[in-house]
Symmetry: C2
């Protein structure tokens, strides 16, 4: 029996009964009642972090909402923080003014670099902020055996996290073939998280495969792209997370799924959201606006980012404006544009008119600063000896993360493989950067439209080795060296000259800087790459050429991977 807890409750009860004044009373608002789907004109008393009551209450302070809407704060059910390039602290400053109160994050990227230490660093950096962060534990680190990652998280490692605070459940089980097939390690991970939320990831899985996947344990999916797919998943018991991120736009296609009957099992999520997108459009507020513009009832829309994610993740007393519930609230001008006027976290005003009141951001764990452990690099590091008259070429497909394969005559000088601007062929190297083995994989890439220079990046899914594309070894070396010097990041070079750069020193994935600075650097990179390259988003393209779970041909530090056969293949053919 906790006496402290009883004392706290006793004090709160005095306020709820009206015997003592509340910390703050919000008057004159239209309170969104997510239980009945109505709006109620009633005052709301906030005290000691919670809603103490609805009705006529005395308060030590009063704020007149002047007819604005008072909604529960928005809850993001599935986000990879690393995709924003911001650390949790900076992300919270960026999204709190957009009404985001709570984020359920999957630290899959940093876990691939730093393992459990990376998850701990994310937990530490995400405390005491205007946004509350919870985490699911990445289930697929590494993503495959065809690459070298910075860490391996087996069932035993994952079990360690069960006692950690703010760990909710198991993050997206991307290895759905493994789950369906009954891979013992996948099952052991799922069993370890029994009774907790287990998120799924099963693009286009249906029929018996889907039944087996559900039976194994995962019961949510954010990968639906087709309405019939989403309808089958919902009918079979999945929480459908409708994704509207930077790359994946599924809202318009999936919106017909959301009816008053089915809506309780639906969420709106971002998955991946890039910094420029965050700055330009916002976060869940932008998705709500779009959903309502597409015809969704605003009260239903609000439930998709309040009560529903709270229920899916078993977050007690969150997601509604009700007595005893956490006073995470957002004041909205209307239920059409979802313009955010003020944001309250646990009863305290934390953001107003687009700005957080206290922009303090704690530093990120120092261990994240030294993750670029590449082998010593020189120009030879980027040279591949020709071993056949023909060569496999990775071909980018515009607007998609999957790639094609071409087999053509080997471009080169008789000894080494060379780029060929005429044939739109850049050289591609992937350098192991976790200090494990110093592997370097070589290949050729078509579709960047690179004319000269090189691009290097430490953001390369899922193992985040150092990927370098370039037309000559001097440019490749200087770009790669600069990324290593920065402790990670993106860089464009021409010869010895660095044209632009974005430092991402936190695990090579995140900046420690505020959103506006990151966006400026991204803009500069975009301008610089436009001079030497015709691809609209070459770094995005590069970030996916190492991902050996997406067809068809990929390059990792171990070499070329034929994804369909799921094995390494030779670069050269006779």
């Amino acid at each position: 029996m906790s006496i402290t807890e009883r004392d706290q409750l006793t004090a709160r009860l005095r306020v709820a009964r009206g015997d003592e004044p509340a910390d703050l009373v919000l008057t004159g608002g239209k309170v969104v009642d997510v239980f009945s789907g109505r709006v109620q004109e009633v005052d709301v008393a906030l005290h000691d972090g919670i809603v103490a009551g609805l009705g006529d209450y005395q308060g030590k302070a009063r704020v007149d909402l002047k007819g604005a809407y008072l909604s529960p704060g928005f809850i993001e059910g599935h986000l990879h923080i690393e995709s924003t390039m911001l650390c949790p602290a900076q992300l919270s400053l960026a999204v709190a003014p957009h009404g985001t109160s709570l984020i359920v994050a999957d630290p899959h990227e940093i876990a691939n670099v730093m393992g459990l230490q990376g998850i701990r660093a994310m937990l530490k950096n995400s405390q005491g902020l205007p946004v509350t962060f919870y985490f699911n534990v990445p289930s697929c680190v590494p993503a495959t055996h065809l690459e070298t990652s910075g860490a391996v998280l087996g069932p035993e490692e994952l079990e360690q996290t069960l006692s950690w605070k703010r760990i909710l459940g198991l993050a997206e089980v991307m290895n759905f073939p493994g789950a369906v097939a009954g891979d013992p390690e996948v099952l052991d991970k799922i069993i370890a998280f029994k009774g907790r939320p287990i998120d799924g990831h099963a693009p286009l899985l249906s029929g018996k495969g889907l039944d087996a996947y559900l039976l194994a344990g995962p019961n949510s999916d954010h990968e639906c792209t087709e309405l019939a797919e989403a309808a089958e998943k919902l009918a079979k018991g999945m929480w459908v997370m409708i994704r509207q991120g930077t790359a994946a736009h599924n809202l318009a296609d999936l919106l017909p799924l959301v009816t008053p009957f089915s809506e309780r099992r639906c969420l709106l999520v971002s998955d991946d959201r890039h910094p420029d997108d965050l700055a330009r459009e916002g976060h869940l507020d932008a998705i709500l606006k779009m959903a309502v513009a597409l015809g969704l009832d605003p009260m239903l829309a609000l439930r998709l980012v309040t009560l529903n994610p709270a229920r899916r993740f078993m977050l007690k007393r969150r997601g509604a404006v009700a007595p005893g519930w956490v006073a995470d609230l957002v004041v909205l001008e209307d239920l059409k544009d979802f313009q955010v006027r003020q944001v309250y976290q646990a009863g305290r005003l934390v953001a107003e008119a687009g700005q957080v009141l206290d922009p303090a951001a704690p530093p990120f764990a120092g261990a994240a600063l030294g993750t670029m452990k590449t082998p010593p690099l020189n120009e030879e590091s980027f040279l591949a000896e020709i071993k056949g008259a023909k060569v496999r070429i990775i071909e980018l497909v515009p607007g998609q993360v999957l790639t094609g394969q071409a087999i053509e005559a080997t471009p080169g000088d008789g000894i080494y493989l060379r780029a060929d601007a005429e044939r739109d062929l850049a050289r591609l190297s992937v350098i192991e950067r976790h200090g494990k083995n110093g592997n370097i994989g070589h290949g050729l890439l078509r579709g960047l439209g690179l004319k000269e220079g090189a691009l290097a990046s430490s953001v390369a899914h899922d193992s985040h080795n150092l990927v370098v594309a370039g037309m000559d070894e001097e440019s490749m070396l200087s770009a790669a060296r600069r990324v290593v010097e920065m402790g990670g990041g993106l860089c464009v070079a021409r010869g010895a000259e660095i044209l632009a750069e974005l430092p991402l020193p936190l695990a090579g994935l995140m900046s420690g800087q505020p959103l506006d600075q990151v966006v400026s650097a991204v803009d500069e990179l975009t301008r610089a790459t436009a001079h030497i390259c015709s691809h609209p988003e070459p770094f995005m393209a590069l970030s996916f050429v190492c991902l050996p779970v997406i067809p068809k041909l990929k390059l990792t530090d171990l070499g070329l991977v034929d994804v369909d056969s799921f094995q390494l293949v030779d670069l050269f053919l006779d």
Copy 2:
């Protein structure tokens, strides 16, 4: 890591994938999809207790449902088993054929007699039956300090149950004034069950009192009688359990609360259901039929007894027909009368055409057989010396459990208080029967219309002492003695003659016999009492005259209780 669990999952996955045949495939049914609100014509594969998949599956056996509906089994969210007078085992045999798959019970009555031992006895008797039983732990034992109960369950006693299997949460916190006022013991009980379901009981509570109650912890209510009351409770975050029991009929009044928007927070429950009602009308099937007859969409209605109670009580993978979910299923002729054709429990046929297939019922714990520990009784036990010219009279109010009070001239022989048929005054005695102190309280009761003889009962809320109403001490003694001899129950006597009886030897509250035998005995009692008494349900009336939380005048073993002032008062006045 549980190897056994992984092996089980691996074997189930083989079936889900279609690599091995399922135990049973139900074909040709219309499957109720509670997630999307549709009916789908699809086969359902059952294996190892769960639904293995939906679609074309091979099975070791196949059953053609021939167009019948296949629904998740019904879940009762709030029932006092003791009100049925059946033990859990016999109750399961009675309700399984009506489609009841799971019951969440509040063993409040037996706990008042036997404490934790009583709860353990209920758990033990409710294993391995065609209905799955879960229990919430009674929060108010004893109900008040104005009576002698068989046990006291303080916070420490309740905490012991937290590790017991099939204990879900805290049962209805009836002491709502205590919760609102911050009574330390009430708060300690609630805090002990933090994170678990905590059921409420707050008739007509509203405004700040309701806010405080919710803030304290309880977040469901089954006591709503008015629509506005239910709407306020729902809007403030309560699960509203719409009650349609034997005594309380709230469905018609509260049904407008249930909209597609609000419905997720609503349940249909019985609370108290008497044996004759069970036999004549059924259980949740009867409530469903009535709800739909009153205009509720059948798909919404079904959710109120499947998915919603499962969510309210955090019962994992129950309440829907979906891959990996428990295969508790009911085959229905239609969605109008809800005529039950077959019932499957964990994939096994357990009832068909109104009969359970295996009517075996385990015996109840022997400790429950010796609970009638009254003091030695003789005719003098029922005599009260006159101590004033006027006397307080408990007046029954037709159709209600509350009572009135009259103060009139004392009927008697100058020495002892006597009954007076002319003035419709029966003598009333309440005898402590838990072996604690041998108290006997005396009073007068108006409204039974008793002409001669006596009625005695060991069912007397909430302490279940022995209540006896009669016109003379000989009849009172023989009725009371017979109840003690039976180990508890109901009895009608005239002089030395026993006119009819219903033995309830299990804690003085439940029979060990099947429903039909109990109903026969009840019918016989009804016939016998009709000869000597004009009240239509005299035993029901008697069961509430000892309950000192319902206004206005009640009698306990300690004496007369004025409920409004919540204190003992003298029987006689000058």
